[in-house]
C-alpha cells in the first residue's frame, strides 16, 4: 500500500491538472478540488505512515508509545483541509457567479481583461 500510494497521488495530480487545463468551468472546479485532495494526500503520505496505531494516548498510559501515527502531518492536514474547504466553496460560488454574468462555460471566452487597449 505504501508503495502504491505515491503512484495514486501522481495519478490524482495528473487527473486534476488535466481537468484544470480543460476550458470548461465545471471541469476547472472539479480539477481544483481534486488537486486539493491530491495535495492533502501528498502531505499525509510524505510524512511517514503508520498502519493501525492512531495518534491517541491510551487510557492507561501518560505518554504515547510507539508505534503511533505521526500526529504532525495529521494536524497540518486538518488545517489544510479546512482552509481548502473555505477556498473551495468560495471558488464554487465564484464560478457560479461567473457563469451567471457571462453566460458561458468556456474559459477561453474570458480573456478581455488581459487585452491591451488600443490607443493608436
Amino acid at each position: 500500500m505504501e508503495f502504491i500510494l505515491p503512484f495514486i497521488i501522481g495519478i490524482l495530480f495528473s487527473a486534476s491538472l488535466y481537468l484544470i487545463l480543460h476550458r470548461h468551468f465545471f471541469r476547472l472546479i472539479l480539477g481544483l478540488i481534486l488537486s486539493g485532495l491530491a495535495t492533502n494526500l501528498f502531505l499525509f503520505v510524505i510524512g511517514r505512515l503508520t498502519r493501525g496505531g492512531s495518534a491517541i494516548i491510551g487510557q492507561d498510559e501518560s505518554v504515547a508509545v510507539e508505534p503511533f501515527a505521526d500526529p504532525v502531518p495529521q494536524a497540518l492536514l486538518l488545517t489544510a483541509i479546512v482552509i481548502g474547504f473555505g477556498i473551495q466553496s468560495f471558488t464554487i460560488v465564484l464560478i457560479k457567479r461567473v457563469y451567471q454574468s457571462f453566460g458561458t462555460t468556456d474559459l477561453d471566452d474570458m480573456n478581455t481583461t488581459d487585452q491591451i487597449d488600443e490607443n493608436h
Partner: protein
C-alpha cells in the same frame, strides 16, 4: 554652499505661491536669489583664486558613502558664476518674455529648480551627489521643454530629451559607481589624487564607456545630438539658459572635472577627439541647412560643444586654456544671441531668417546686443570671442599626429560661426531693405536689457581680460590639468599664424554668408541621408520598442488561463528536474517491492475504487454524476486516512466532503451539461503535461520516503501531549494548544470565506465599477 542650494530648492517650490501673491513681481525674489548667490560666490572668489579649494561636508546617507559634499575650485567657481550670473539675467528676461502667462509661477518653479540643480551639480564634491543633481537637471529640463504642454511637438520633444539624457543618466550612474569602486571613494577631492590608480584599474574601461555615454548624451554629442534642436520647443529663456549656456555644458563639465582622474589615456583622448570632432563638423554643417533662428543657434551650439569636447580630449595645457576661454566666450555670445532671437520672435512672431530684415530701426537695443554678440562670435578683435578663437587655433595647431585634422575641424566651425554671426548680428537687423519686418509690439526693457548686459560683458572681458577673468580661467584650467598654470590672456599677440587664420576665417565666413541661400537650396538633397540619421533611428527604436513590447505582451499575457497554468506547471517540472538532475539521489525501488506483498484485499478494493472513479469522472458528461464521483473520491481518501491512523482527519474529510457535495448541489445545479472544448492537438499536449506533472510528484514522494525520518517533534508531542497538554488526542492537542495559532489563522480564513461568499451572492453592482 549647502544653504544656497537649499534656499534655491525652497524658493523654487514657493514660486507658484509667490506668483499668486505677487503677480508679475514674482521675478524680484526669483532674480534676487541667483544674484545673491552670485555675490556670495564672488566673496569666496579671492580664496579660490589664491589657490585654495573650499570644501563643505553635510552627511546625507553615510551608510552608502553618499554625502552632500561641496567642493569649490576654479572650475566649479567658473561654472557656478556662469550659472548664477546668467541665471539672474534669465529670471528678469523670463518675466518680460512670458508676461501674463498663467503658468508663470510654475515656470519659475522649474527654472529655479533647474538653476539650483545645476549649481549643485557643479559644486558637488561627491560623485554620487553629482549624479543626483545631474538627474535633477534632466527632469527640470524635461518640464521646461514641455512647458507648452498643450502642443504635441513640445511634449514629444520633452520626452525625447528626457529619454536621451535619461539613457545617459543611467549609464552615468553605472559609470560613477564603477569609478567609485576603482578609485575606492566617492569623494571628489580624494579621487582627484588617485588618477593613476583609476586609469590602471581593471574597471577603468567599462567605467569610461559608461561615463562618456552619460557626458555625450547630456552635451548633445554625435550621435546623441538630435535632441538638442528639438529641445528648442521650450520658451526662449529656457533655450538660452539651459540649452546653450548651462545644462548642455554639464557633460563638458563632467569631462573636465574628471580629466585628472580618468584623462590622459589613449582611449580617453581618441574618443573625445573623435566624437568631439565629428560633432563640431556636423553641427556646423547642419547650422547652414536651416533658416529658423533657434535651430541655427542650436546647431552652432552643438558644434561649439563638440569643440569643447575636442579640446578636453587633446588635454594639453594650451588646449585646456582654449577650452575654458572658449567656454566662457561661447556662453556669453550664444546666450545673448538666443535672447535676441527670443526678442525677435516675441516682437515679430517669426523666427524665419529669410523673412527678417531691417529690424535695427524698431529694435535698437536688441540690435546693438546682437551686433556685439555677433562680433564676439565671429571673433572680431576687441571681443572676448576673439581671444577664444585665437586660443582654439593655437591649441589645435600644436604638435600632434592629428594637428591638421583638428585644425580643419576648428577652422570649418569657425567659418560657419562667422557666417551665422553675420546673418544674426547683421543680417536680421542692419541689412537694408524696403520693407522692414513689422513689429507686433515695441521692444521692452526687460527683454532687451539682459542681452545688452551679456553682450556688453563679452566686450568688457575682451578689453579688460587681465582683471579677474584671467586668474579665474587660470584656476579653472588648473583644476583640469592638476598642475599650476601660468598663462596670460591678451587681445594682441602680434602678427601670429593664428591671427592670419582668424582673418581668413572671417573672410571665408563672409563668403559663406553670401552664398548661404545657394547652400540652403541643396538642403533637400540630404533628406535621404537623414533617414539614416540618429534622429530617425531614435524614432524607429521607439516605434519598434513599442511594437515589440505589444507583441511580446500579447503573446505572453494572452488571456487564456490554461496557457498560464501550463506555463506555471512547466516551470515547476523543469525546476524540480533542474534541482535533481545533476546530483540528485538515485531512486531505489527494488527493496521496496516487498511492500507490495503486504497489500490487503480491502486496500486493493479501495485503490480500484479510486482509480475507476477517476476514469468515470473523465467519461462523465453530467454534472450530478461528476459530483457524485467527486464524493466517492473524497470518501475513499477519508478511508485511507482511517487506515493509517488518522481518525480525526478522516472524520473531517468525510464531513467536509459531504458539505462540498451539498454546496455543489445548492449552487451548481443550474449549470448546463458540458462536453470537450479543447482541440485534439492541444489535448494531447495537455495530457503529456499532466502525466509529466503527476510523474514528478510521484517521484518526489518516492525519493523523499527513501530516507528515514526521525522527527523530534513527533516524539515531543507524544511525550507531552497528556502530561502538559492535558489531552490524550494528540492531534487535537496540537490543534488547540501546541499549534493553536495555526488554527486561529484557519478559522479566520473560514470567516472571511463566509463573508466573501455572502458578498458575492448578495452584492450585485449593476453599473460598471466606479473607482
Amino acid at each position: 554652499m549647502f544653504l544656497a542650494i537649499l534656499a534655491g530648492f525652497l524658493l523654487a517650490l514657493a514660486a507658484p505661491l509667490l506668483y499668486r501673491w505677487l503677480g508679475k513681481w514674482v521675478y524680484a525674489p526669483m532674480a534676487l536669489l541667483p544674484f545673491s548667490i552670485f555675490v556670495y560666490l564672488l566673496t569666496l572668489a579671492p580664496a579660490v583664486l589664491g589657490g585654495e579649494n573650499l570644501g563643505e561636508l553635510h552627511t546625507w546617507a553615510p551608510s552608502l558613502n553618499i554625502n552632500l559634499h561641496f567642493f569649490l575650485d576654479g572650475l566649479s567657481l567658473l561654472f557656478a558664476l556662469l550659472i548664477t550670473g546668467f541665471g539672474t539675467l534669465i529670471m528678469l528676461y523670463a518675466v518680460g518674455y512670458l508676461k501674463g502667462h498663467p503658468l508663470l509661477g510654475r515656470f519659475y518653479l522649474y527654472l529655479t529648480l533647474f538653476m539650483t540643480a545645476m549649481l549643485g551639480l557643479v559644486l558637488a564634491g561627491n560623485i554620487i551627489s553629482i549624479f543626483v543633481f545631474w538627474e535633477l537637471t534632466s527632469i527640470s529640463s524635461y518640464l521646461l521643454i514641455g512647458f507648452n504642454q498643450d502642443k504635441e511637438k513640445s511634449r514629444s520633444s520633452a520626452l525625447q530629451a528626457l529619454l536621451v539624457t535619461g539613457l545617459g543618466g543611467m549609464a552615468l550612474m553605472g559609470g560613477l559607481i564603477l569609478l567609485g569602486m576603482a578609485g575606492g571613494s566617492y569623494t571628489l577631492s580624494e579621487l582627484l589624487q588617485r588618477g593613476d590608480v583609476v586609469t590602471n584599474h581593471a574597471l577603468y574601461l567599462p567605467a569610461l564607456v559608461l561615463l562618456l555615454l552619460g557626458a555625450f548624451t547630456k552635451s548633445a554629442q554625435f550621435p546623441f545630438h538630435f535632441w538638442l534642436p528639438n529641445a528648442m520647443e521650450a520658451p526662449t529663456p529656457v533655450s538660452a539658459y539651459l540649452h546653450s549656456a548651462t545644462m548642455v555644458k554639464a557633460g563638458v563639465y563632467l569631462l573636465a572635472r574628471l580629466t585628472p582622474v580618468m584623462g590622459g589615456t589613449d582611449e580617453w583622448q581618441y574618443t573625445l577627439m573623435l566624437v568631439g570632432g565629428i560633432t563640431t563638423v556636423l553641427g556646423a554643417f547642419l547650422a547652414t541647412q536651416h533658416v529658423d533662428l533657434k535651430a541655427i543657434l542650436a546647431y552652432t551650439t552643438i558644434s561649439a560643444l563638440g569643440l569643447l569636447v575636442t579640446m578636453t580630449g587633446i588635454g594639453t595645457a594650451p588646449a585646456m586654456e582654449a577650452m575654458v576661454v572658449f567656454l566662457l566666450a561661447h556662453a556669453l555670445y550664444k546666450g545673448t544671441l538666443f535672447l535676441v532671437a527670443g526678442n525677435v520672435d516675441h516682437a515679430t512672431g517669426t523666427r524665419d531668417l529669410t523673412q527678417l530684415t531691417g529690424l535695427s530701426g524698431s529694435m535698437r537695443y536688441t540690435a546693438i546686443a546682437a551686433l556685439l554678440a555677433g562680433m564676439s562670435m565671429a571673433g572680431i578683435l576687441p571681443f572676448f570671442g576673439f581671444i577664444g578663437k585665437e586660443l582654439l587655433y593655437e591649441a589645435s595647431l600644436q604638435e600632434s599626429p592629428f594637428r591638421w585634422m583638428l585644425f580643419a575641424v576648428s577652422f570649418f566651425s569657425g567659418m560657419v560661426f562667422v557666417s551665422v554671426a553675420i546673418a544674426l548680428g547683421f543680417g536680421v537687423f542692419w541689412r537694408r531693405s524696403e520693407s522692414p519686418t513689422a513689429l507686433q509690439h515695441p521692444d521692452k526693457p526687460l527683454l532687451y536689457l539682459p542681452p545688452v548686459i551679456l553682450a556688453g560683458t563679452g566686450l568688457v572681458f575682451g578689453l579688460l581680460q587681465g582683471f579677474f577673468v584671467t586668474p579665474l580661467l587660470r584656476r579653472a584650467a588648473e583644476s583640469m590639468l592638476g598642475v599650476e598654470q601660468v598663462f596670460e590672456l591678451a587681445l594682441w599677440h602680434g602678427f601670429t599664424l593664428a591671427l592670419g587664420l582668424s582673418v581668413i576665417t572671417v573672410l571665408l565666413g563672409y563668403v559663406l554668408y553670401r552664398k548661404a541661400n545657394r547652400l540652403l537650396s541643396y538642403a533637400s538633397r540630404f533628406n535621404d541621408l537623414y533617414l539614416f540619421g540618429p534622429a530617425n533611428l531614435y524614432q524607429l527604436t521607439l516605434k519598434g520598442f513599442l511594437a515589440g513590447a505589444t507583441k511580446i505582451t500579447a503573446t505572453i499575457q494572452n488571456g487564456y488561463l490554461r496557457s498560464y497554468i501550463a506555463a506555471i506547471v512547466t516551470a515547476h517540472i523543469s525546476l524540480i528536474v533542474l534541482a535533481l538532475w545533476e546530483n540528485g539521489p538515485r531512486l531505489e525501488l527494488t527493496n521496496r517491492l516487498d511492500q507490495l506483498s503486504q497489500l490487503r484485499l480491502y486496500e486493493v478494493v479501495l485503490l480500484l475504487m479510486l482509480v475507476s472513479a477517476l476514469v468515470f469522472l473523465f467519461k462523465s458528461q453530467s454534472r450530478l454524476t461528476s459530483i457524485a464521483i467527486m464524493g466517492i473520491v473524497g470518501y475513499s481518501a477519508a478511508l485511507l486516512y482511517i487506515l493509517f491512523g488518522a481518525p480525526d482527519v478522516a472524520a473531517t474529510q468525510l464531513l467536509i466532503e459531504t458539505l462540498t457535495v451539498v454546496i455543489f448541489v445548492l449552487i451548481l445545479h443550474k449549470l448546463p451539461t458540458f462536453g470537450y472544448l479543447s482541440h485534439a492537438a492541444e489535448r494531447y499536449k495537455y495530457i503529456l503535461l499532466s502525466l509529466a506533472f503527476g510523474a514528478v510528484m510521484t517521484y518526489v514522494i518516492l525519493i523523499v520516503k527513501q530516507y528515514p525520518l526521525d522527527s523530534e517533534i513527533k516524539a515531543y508531542y507524544g511525550e507531552n501531549s497528556y502530561l502538559l497538554g492535558q489531552g490524550r488526542n494528540i492531534v487535537n492537542v496540537i490543534l488547540v494548544d501546541f499549534r493553536a495559532f495555526d488554527t486561529l489563522g484557519e478559522i479566520v480564513v473560514l470567516a472571511v470565506a463566509a463573508i466573501g461568499i455572502m458578498a458575492m451572492l448578495k452584492l450585485r453592482m449593476q453599473k460598471g465599477d466606479k473607482p
